[in-house]
């Protein structure tokens, strides 16, 4: 059983975030962390591997070279190795270009199962897994809150507004997990110490067979035209608590039929 987990380095949510007005891209120069949804995907992959009594958990990411430090956390949790697609030509890749590069890497690796966190905390696109699955012509299940494998099939429980969908697909398949799926482990000291010696392979786009016109700005079909501040919050009302704060809030909500 070979499980690939596609992970992304995102800016630390605790640090202030900034959009670069020149490039109209998110400023990624600060500390990067592993996208929180992806940590759940890594955890799920490790559990599947442990339940199966063996196999390989492979991390796949497209990011600048510094991302190795971020990948280390997932390796410390127990992933076996990492594939880092790192190429200056990849800068500015949108969903179309990113999904192409990831699909190329996954084609090379031929995993039995591909896991994604369902969205990334920086761009919140929440469609990359679908695009990758489409390129690989693989079935996909999204928003998965419970996952199991049996007899060459994957079964996912998807939370909906009214209950659950239970969806099955033959392997190989692409699954996007929600953060309700598990409680990720903390890396153990042993895991942290051994992460250093786990393979982290750097590959260029060319090495994966990604044509230059299908990567970065060139390979992207979307363009950011303008950046603007979010509109100032309108008719907000500040309630200071003089003992009746709770009542005032309830009255406010009732008035707008929100409760």
């Amino acid at each position: 059983m070979k499980i690939a987990v596609c992970v992304k380095q995102v800016p630390d949510a605790a640090a202030p975030r900034r959009l670069d007005p020149q490039t109209k891209r998110l400023d990624r120069s600060g500390e990067g962390v592993l996208n929180a949804f992806d940590v759940h995907a890594v955890e799920e992959a490790l559990r599947l591997k442990e339940a199966a009594g063996g196999g390989e958990v492979l991390l796949v990411t497209m990011a600048p070279e510094g991302a190795q430090d971020t990948l280390r956390k997932a390796l410390a949790m127990g992933a076996d190795r990492a594939l880092l697609i790192s190429d200056e030509a990849a800068a500015g890749s949108d969903l179309v270009a990113t999904s192409y590069a990831l699909a190329k890497a996954l084609e090379r690796e031929e995993p039995d199962l591909v896991l994604f966190g369902q969205q990334a905390s920086d761009s919140d696109g929440a469609v990359l897994w679908a695009a990758v699955a489409d390129r690989l012509r693989l079935p996909t299940i999204s928003q998965v809150a419970e996952l199991s494998l049996a007899e060459g099939r994957v079964r996912g429980k998807r939370q909906t507004e009214f209950g659950y969908d239970v969806i099955e697909a033959p392997l190989p398949a692409v699954v996007a997990v929600s953060d309700a799926i598990n409680e990720p482990r903390y890396p153990s000291l042993k895991g942290i110490m051994s992460a250093k010696s786990k393979p982290q392979e750097l590959v260029s786009l060319t090495a994966l067979g990604v044509e230059p016109d299908r990567a970065g700005d060139q390979g992207s079909r979307t363009e950011v035209y303008a950046l603007g501040d979010p509109p100032a919050r309108g008719d907000s009302q500040k309630i200071s608590d003089d003992g009746s704060g709770a009542e005032q809030i309830v009255a406010f909500l009732v008035e707008r039929r929100l409760v």
């Binding site: 190795q68 430090d69 280390r72 956390k73 410390a76 903390y186 890396p187 153990s188 000291l189 042993k190 942290i192 110490m193 992460a195 250093k196």
Partner: protein, 377 residues
């Protein structure tokens, strides 16, 4: 010169920080209020390999260096001192003597359980009449028919009486002016442990009085050679000081974090109190001293990891961060005003937990004596 931490050290910090925030912070106030020993947290820390960080993996430890250990203790203390001292006393005082001075047989017998955190160990040096003057121990041990028969008492011993404590290593007089260390397993007849001592801070940490009456342990429980006890405990304390110094930095950082957040949120005279220069200057001083204190602790840890002499720096680090943490909790509580005096504000616990850092493992005065000796005075 490179002052960057390695990616492993960064990840240890990040991991312990998350653990402390997610697992310890929600229960710290309750553990303190109920004087309850954190068994569940110790088990979780053991699973992560944090109960024996600097002990090699071959003995069941984490195989980390002193710096990793200091960083972990710092991050734990930032949230809760009781949990941090439980780890620190177990590691530096309980486990380390057996690792450093034990025979291969003693190591095989004790270390796998201790370094993995399945059991805890304590170090009993202090007596009612032998505190700073720790060499003045009155507890005696005499060799009779292949057993050491121990008589005497110890006081203020951390981790000695928990349900999972395996043993205590004590100093005892084994002859005129001859101090030796002996391992006494919990449950040995004649070894009695008092109820938990009630104290100002560290309320979730286990502190006991021990008494030994006709308490017999096998001759083989002697740690190292006869008469080496004095030199051994000095060496133990040198290393232990790095972890207490790390606690000083962690506690000061925790106090600073609380003050910073509170100052930005609390409004008086129509604006956040963080806009008042008097408050800003306190925070600026705290942040500055924290940098200095942390650098001193990491340097001591680094020297030890390089196999170089570190006792001077360890004493300096403990002295400086002990006093720094005192200023930090004091200023932080001041910035909190009356709210800081209330139990539901974490700073009140940090304030109570601070003072011991200037007393345990050598008082400030003792550190100055040690430093003066290193200066050739």
């Amino acid at each position: 010169m490179n002052l960057d931490l390695s990616p492993e050290h960064d990840l240890i910090r990040e991991t312990v920080r998350e653990f402390a925030l997610e697992r310890i912070a929600p229960v710290a106030e309750e553990l303190d209020r109920e004087h309850r020993f954190p068994y569940e947290l110790v088990a979780e820390l053991a699973d992560l390999g944090l109960m024996g960080i600097p002990i090699p993996e071959t003995y069941g430890g984490g195989g980390g260096d002193t710096l990793s250990y200091a960083i972990a203790i710092e991050e734990l203390t930032r949230i809760d001192s009781s949990v941090a001292i439980t780890v620190a006393a177990h590691t530096s005082l309980g486990t380390m003597p057996i690792f450093l001075f034990g025979t291969e047989e003693q190591k095989r017998r004790w270390l796998p359980e201790l370094a993995s955190g399945r059991r805890l160990a304590a170090f009993g040096l202090t007596e009612a009449d032998a505190g700073s003057d720790a060499g003045a121990t009155r507890t005696r041990a005499e060799l009779h028919d292949g057993s050491w028969v121990i008589g005497g008492s110890k006081i203020f011993i951390t981790n000695a009486g928990t349900d999972i404590t395996g043993c205590v290593t004590i100093t005892a007089l084994t002859g005129e002016g001859e101090v030796s260390n002996l391992i006494v397993p919990n449950g040995t007849p004649g070894y009695e442990i008092s109820g938990p001592m009630r104290k100002l801070g560290w309320r979730a940490s286990d502190t006991r009085e021990l008494s030994f009456r006709e308490c017999a342990v096998p001759e083989a429980n002697l740690l190292g050679r006869r008469g080496e006890g004095f030199r051994q405990f000095l060496e133990i304390l040198d290393g232990g000081r790095i972890s207490i110094a790390a606690m000083g930095v962690g506690l000061a950082q925790g106090a600073y974090d609380l003050a910073y957040a509170y100052a930005k949120e609390r409004e008086q005279f129509g604006k956040p109190i963080s806009t008042f220069q008097a408050v800003q200057f306190k925070l600026a001083d705290m942040a500055t001293e924290l940098e200095a204190g942390r650098a001193l602790v990491y340097k001591a840890a680094w020297l030890k990891d390089q196999g170089r002499p570190f006792a001077r720096e360890a004493a300096m680090a403990k002295l400086y961060t002990g006093e720094l943490s005192n200023r930090a909790v004091n200023w932080s509580l001041q910035i909190h005003g009356g709210y800081g005096y209330m139990d539901e504000f974490a700073i009140s616990r940090l304030y109570r937990d601070q003072k011991i850092l200037e007393i345990g493992e050598g008082t400030n005065e003792v550190q100055r004596m040690v430093i003066a000796k290193h200066l050739g005075l």
